[in-house]
Structure formats: structure tokens, C-alpha cells
């Protein structure tokens, strides 16, 4: 092939590509019968599948508003959403957010005030779920720079009630869910068999967010907390150290590679039938009975995580907020109203989705089909979210690195927690938090 032919060929290929491209756009983007369009931006998660595939088309049929769902990976979407908010680009109408992002987005005014748009929240919302959409937070500490007396405004509605609950094998725990952490340890000790890949527990060990979320449940169960009065760092308190030591004691009964596990490997271990129990996100609930994904069909039951001093679950809800620069605020508003209406929530729950309204949780038919709904409702009642401050990511990273180190060493809980607390305190002080 001479160079002339090569150039000709590539030019032809480019033109052909361009022609096909032009053709493929024809007939696609005709404006709809007028009610406009709303664009969702989101990360991917199995918990959103039903919403995307069944309910968005239904919304389009009911209201005539077209929907476009744009997905990116979790960090990528965070970046894009931040960017969109910061530059007011207006590429999205609705941001699907992790509840952890609400302080950041609401605080920087990237979200529209839902109250002002005329939305009325009713009593049917599970309180714990709805509360996460308020900024400044209704209860608890407010970060420096936020007026402690400012009224809480609603900036986001819950979308999916995602949280960490206990998944356990009903054939191993034949007498019902483990009620205390001691029970988990005991069963692990008695029945683990690493040679046959049978582990009493599995968790996430990757540094940062994964391990902190895993540790979070234990921390609170043992009576500890992340922050005390005036944002004092207390995750190195006696209870916290105790919680970490318990976390480390379980390691003997966990898969050896746990330090590199993220939630997908944690879930995979459980679904392969290799672990007796774990605290995992609700996105996994529907998969436990799917033979294409699970070897333990019908063998998994759900409950609130066990008790030590307290009984807590960790909240990690998906929230939906309207972008401050949204091109179609009215349409977005309509979606929120539609999706949170009792009838739609009911059908959502009946189709396997995770609702956020009490009436949907209590529906008999939904509970029969999705046997985890009961546990999730209970978890919502005793759930704790991540600390409501935009600086939590950095503190989480610091804590997560030290927790990961403790995991690798399988010990030295106090030293690592103290080191993390020291670094976190220094950072917070530099960021304007009271040094108390």
C-alpha cells in the first residue's frame, strides 16, 4: 500500500465515520412533545437499576417529560458534578448524590432550594432519610463557617435508602440473626474453616472510605463516635480502641486478602458462600437470590447489625438534588414530586426497589417480595450517617490510612488511632475548627 493510498484510505474512513455518525444522530434528538427534558447525572449502582429501567420510562409516559440518564464512575461523577456546580454549566437538572456530598454541594450553593420551588415534604417520609437532605443539618454539630442559628433548608430528597445492614447465613445462624457481636465472634471461632474457604466474617480493608465505613458500625456499636463536643476528634477514645481491637480480632476468621478488599470483593465472598456474615450495602440485597450472581440463593437473611453497647446501622443514602444551574427546574421538581408520591413509591417497593416512605415499607406485598425491607426500615430508625461536614473526606482519608495500617499489622490499635487523631486534629485546626 503506497502512502498515497494510505492517506486516501484514512480520509475515506474518516468521512465514512462522519457520515455514519451524522446518520445516527438523525431522528434521535427530535424535541419531544413539548414538556422538555430533564437530565440526570449519576454514578452506577445496582440499586438504581430498577429506577433507571422501569420507572424513568414510566415517568416519561405519565408526564411527557423526556429523561436522559448520564452515568459515570463514582469518583468521576463526583468530579463532574462539582465541576458543573462550580462553573454553573447547567448540563444536568438532577444530581444523584451520596448523602455525604450534600454538605459540599448545598454549602457551596450548587443545589436549588427545594422548599422554595414549592415542594412539600409530608410525614410519610422516613425521618432519618429526609433529614439528610437538609442543610445546615437539623440536628448535630454544624461545621465552622455555618451560622449555628441558620434555618435548615431542604436541598435534596432521598432517592434510594441505601445503608449498611447485616447480611447473614440463615443456615449457619440457624436460630436467627446474631444479636451481639460476641455471637459473631463465637460462631466464627467455632465454624470457620479457612482450608475450605469458610470464613466467619468478611469486611472491607482498602484504605480510606471502604475501611472507615466498615469500622464505623463497630465504632458506634461499642459506644464510640467520630466527633465529640465542638468537633473534638474522639475516634481514639477507649471505646473506639476497643472497637478497633474487636475488628482486628475478627481478622483471624476472614479471607487473607481482606486488606485489599473493597465492597465488591466483600460482597463476592459472601455471595460465593465463603463468609457467614457481613455488613454490606442494600444494593446487594436483590442479588442474593439471583443464581447468576449468587451461590447462596435463599440462604441469606437480613437484620440490623448486632449490638454491643448500642445497635446502629450506617446510612449512605442516595439523594437527588436539583442543580442550581438546572435548565429545567420545573421538570426536575415534577420528577421529585412524582417519585416521592405514595403510589409510585409503593410500586417501586413492590418491584424490588428500596423506597424512602413508610407506607411503602409497610406494604405487605412489597415485604413478601423483598424480604429485606423490614430490616432496612429498622436500620433507618437507628442509622447514623457520616459526619455532616464538607471536610469529612479528608478526615476519612487520614483515619482510613491508619486503620488500613492497623489492619496490616493486625494490632497496635491504640497507636494508629492516636496517630490518626493527631493528624486529623491538626488538619481541622488549620481548617478553622475549634481546637477543643
Amino acid at each position: 500500500m503506497t502512502r498515497r493510498r494510505f492517506v486516501q484510505n484514512s480520509a475515506a474512513a474518516a468521512m465514512a465515520g462522519g457520515a455514519v455518525g451524522a446518520l445516527s444522530h438523525c431522528g434521535g434528538n427530535a424535541t419531544s412533545n413539548n414538556r422538555g427534558q430533564i437530565t440526570f447525572g449519576s454514578y452506577a449502582d445496582p440499586a438504581l437499576d430498577i429506577l433507571k429501567e422501569v420507572f424513568l420510562p414510566e415517568f416519561e409516559r405519565d408526564t411527557g417529560i423526556r429523561t436522559e440518564w448520564v452515568e459515570a464512575d463514582f469518583s468521576g461523577w463526583f468530579q463532574k458534578a462539582l465541576n458543573d456546580g462550580q462553573t454553573r454549566a447547567g448540563a444536568f437538572d438532577i444530581y444523584v448524590m451520596d448523602d455525604l456530598w450534600v454538605p459540599r454541594f448545598a454549602g457551596a450553593s450548587y443545589l436549588a432550594n427545594i422548599d422554595e420551588l414549592g415542594f412539600q415534604a409530608d410525614q410519610d417520609f422516613v425521618p432519618a432519610a429526609l433529614d439528610l437532605g437538609f442543610w445546615p443539618p437539623k440536628t448535630g454539630l454544624r461545621q465552622p463557617g455555618i451560622d449555628p442559628k441558620a434555618r435548615s433548608v431542604l436541598y435534596a430528597l432521598p432517592l434510594i435508602s441505601d445503608l449498611q445492614l447485616l447480611f447473614y447465613r440463615n443456615d449457619i445462624y440457624s436460630q436467627g440473626s446474631p444479636k451481639t457481636w460476641g455471637e459473631i465472634l463465637q460462631v466464627a471461632r467455632e465454624r470457620s474453616d479457612p482450608a475450605r474457604r469458610q470464613y466467619g466474617w468478611v469486611t472491607r480493608g482498602v484504605k480510606g472510605n471502604p475501611i472507615v465505613n466498615s469500622y464505623f458500625v463497630l465504632l458506634h456499636a461499642f459506644g464510640g463516635e467520630m466527633f465529640g463536643e465542638s468537633w473534638k476528634v474522639v475516634f481514639n477514645s477507649l471505646q473506639a480502641v476497643e472497637a478497633l481491637e474487636f475488628y482486628l480480632s475478627l481478622l483471624a476468621y476472614e479471607p487473607p486478602g481482606v486488606a485489599e478488599f473493597d465492597s465488591d470483593q466483600e460482597g463476592a465472598t459472601l455471595l460465593q458462600g465463603n463468609a457467614f456474615a457481613a455488613t454490606m450495602w442494600t444494593g446487594w440485597c436483590g442479588q442474593t437470590d439471583d443464581p447468576a450472581r449468587s451461590r447462596v440463593v435463599n440462604k441469606i437473611n437480613f437484620d440490623v447489625p448486632p449490638k454491643q453497647v448500642k445497635q446502629v446501622a450506617k446510612l449512605g443514602l442516595f439523594m437527588a438534588g436539583i442543580a442550581a444551574s438546572a435548565p429545567n427546574k420545573a421538570g426536575a421538581q415534577e420528577f421529585l414530586k412524582w417519585f416521592s408520591s405514595p403510589s409510585v413509591q409503593l410500586r417501586f417497593a413492590r418491584n424490588g426497589g428500596i423506597p424512602f416512605k413508610l407506607s411503602a415499607f409497610q406494604d405487605e406485598e412489597a415485604r413478601k417480595k423483598s424480604r429485606w425491607l423490614d430490616a432496612i426500615l429498622k436500620c433507618l430508625a437507628c442509622g447514623v450517617p457520616s459526619p455532616r461536614t464538607s471536610d469529612w473526606s479528608k478526615v476519612e482519608d487520614i483515619l482510613g490510612t491508619e486503620l488500613n495500617r492497623a489492619l496490616l499489622e493486625r494490632g497496635k490499635a491504640k497507636q494508629h488511632l492516636d496517630a490518626a487523631a493527631a493528624e486529623a486534629t491538626a488538619f481541622l485546626k488549620g481548617a478553622g475548627y475549634p481546637s477543643g
Binding site: S75, S393, T401
Partner: protein, 303 residues
């Protein structure tokens, strides 16, 4: 024309002496490239520099803080460590890729059966999206279900967890990089070798020089321009490695694989410290520029 077949440094003036306007030709040819590339980078870079002089707090407009961020960087142990990790990664990976790539290029430069398929196959690692490379290697390295762990276990009986070992994690990442980018070196050096004129080699062979001598004293020197470019470009890319580290280890275990770009990304985007993150990025850039200047200077006159 005298068929001077020895490689001599060509006088370039004769080509220029032809026309008056030809003096502009060099600039005219390079200018679009330089201008276009710089426009896309210098302006945004300026913005970044300005950002690095500011501090961002939630709900408030950015505040000008001068060189505060850079001063904080000097005391930031984590960032300095990440620079060290990046340097180790870059030098090890680039050197290994160069050696292996050169070996492959020498092995495959002559005609042999199926050469098309073989060469194309060797390029495939480079063709796969870095994110997917990360995911697949994550699966391969997985302590429980990974092929490698399984193989090690079958041979030695002990299970090995590469990605959760503070000592093995960085080498593991370097291995992934070598796997992915040796084809780059291979291809580049192969093309370079194939472009070399034949006569000097024939002459040397007729003079009785052995293959090793030919390689060291003829091939390598003649390949020097290509070698420098290859090393430079690969090193620059290795300095800014991101995807694989992000997917495979997130910087862990501990901070064993926390490379500079990961720190910058987390600081700017996860912690929303745009100013501090920008100052890290600028610092990295300065270091990289110093490095490239040093390399170019070392090879000046021979390139």
C-alpha cells in the same frame, strides 16, 4: 553525487541557502504545533497558577493567600513521600521497559514467519484501556480468586496477597506498568531500527565485526535520537500515572503506592482543596520540567 555512506553530521545550511523566504520555513512548520499546543496548555496553566495562590473554604469566595500553599507543601510529609514514590516508580518502570523493549526489538527486527501477527500481538497490552487493565490485574492479583495467587499457592503452598503487602504493592504496580508499556518501547525502537540505513551494517559485517560490537558501537549510537524520545515520553507519562494506581490500590496499603498524581487528585477533588491541590500540581510540573531539561542537556549535541 558522492555516495558517502558513513554517517556524518549533516551540514544543514545548504538546504536553507536556497531561497530567501525559506528562512521562514522552519518557523512556519513548527509554529502551528507550538502555538496550538501552548494555547491549550499555557492559558489553563496560568489559571492553575492563580488557583494555587488561593484558598478555598466552603461557601466563601476564594481567598488570596500568596505562597502559603507552597509553604505548607514544604512541610507536607505525605506529599514529599508521594514524590519519592513517583520517582521510584518512574525510574524503575522506564528503565525496565527500555531494556525489555530493546531486547524484543532486536529479537524481532529480522524477517521471520508470522511476524505480522506476532508483532501485533505484542502491541495488544498497550491497546487496552488503562481502567480495564487495572481491573483485570486487580482480578489477577486478588489473593482469593486471582490466577497469580492461585499459581503461587499451587507451587509454594502459601497464599500470597500482593496488593495488601506494603513491600510488594509498588513492585506489583510497576509490573503492571511494564506489562502495559513495554510494547511502546518495543514498537518505537523497532521502528527506529527499521529506519536505519543498511550500508553501515553491511560494511561493518564485511569488516568482520561481531554482533555484539555492531550492536553497541553502531546500532545504539544511531538509534540515539529515538532512544531519547522514547525514554523522555515514557518517563513523562510515568510521572503522571494515575488510572492503574487508582483502580488497583487507591494508594494503599498504607501509603506504599501513593503517587503524586493520586495525592493531587484527592486533594483537589475529594477534599475540595483546589488551591492546595493546584500548588501540588504546579510543584510536580516544575520538578518534571527540571528533569526533562536535565535529560535533554545530558544528550545535547548527540541528538
Amino acid at each position: 553525487m558522492d555516495s558517502s555512506l558513513e554517517l556524518k553530521r549533516p551540514p544543514e545550511a545548504p538546504l536553507l541557502r536556497r531561497h530567501r523566504w525559506a528562512r521562514l520555513l522552519p518557523v512556519a512548520l513548527v509554529a502551528p504545533t507550538a502555538l496550538f499546543a501552548l494555547a491549550i496548555t499555557v492559558l489553563p496553566l496560568g489559571y492553575s497558577v492563580v488557583t494555587s495562590l488561593q484558598e478555598f473554604r466552603l461557601g466563601q469566595p476564594p481567598a488570596f493567600v500568596g505562597l502559603q500553599n507552597y509553604q505548607n507543601l514544604l512541610h507536607d510529609v505525605n506529599f514529599k513521600n508521594s514524590l519519592g514514590t513517583t520517582l521510584v516508580f518512574t525510574i524503575t518502570a522506564t528503565a525496565a521497559e527500555f531494556v525489555l523493549g530493546l531486547m524484543l526489538a532486536m529479537l524481532l527486527k529480522d524477517e521471520f514467519p508470522f511476524q505480522g501477527i506476532i508483532r501485533s500481538s505484542l502491541i495488544v497490552p498497550m491497546a487496552i484501556a488503562p481502567v480495564v487493565v487495572g481491573i483485570i490485574w486487580r482480578l489477577l492479583y486478588n489473593a482469593d480468586v486471582g490466577l497469580f495467587s492461585f499459581a503461587v499457592q499451587t507451587v509454594t503452598g502459601k497464599s500470597i496477597s500482593v496488593l495488601s503487602s506494603a513491600t510488594l504493592a509498588l513492585p506489583a504496580l510497576i509490573v503492571v506498568d511494564i506489562w502495559e508499556w513495554t510494547p511502546f518501547m518495543f514498537l518505537l525502537l523497532l521502528a527506529g531500527i527499521q529506519s536505519l540505513p543498511q550500508e553501515p551494517f553491511e560494511a561493518a559485517r564485511m569488516d568482520g565485526a561481531g554482533p555484539w560490537n555492531i550492536f553497541v558501537h553502531l546500532t545504539l549510537p544511531m538509534l540515539r535520537p529515538v532512544i531519547v524520545v522514547a525514554l523522555m515520553i515514557r518517563a513523562l507519562d510515568a510521572f503522571t500515572v494515575f488510572d492503574q494506581v487508582f483502580v488497583l490500590t487507591q494508594g494503599g496499603p498504607g501509603t506504599a503506592t501513593e503517587v503524586a498524581t493520586l495525592m493531587i487528585y484527592k486533594t483537589a477533588f475529594r477534599f475540595s482543596q483546589f488551591g492546595y491541590g493546584a500548588s501540588m500540581a504546579i510543584t510536580l510540573l516544575i520538578l518534571v520540567m527540571v528533569f526533562s531539561a536535565a535529560v535533554t542537556r545530558a544528550f545535547r549535541g548527540t541528538v
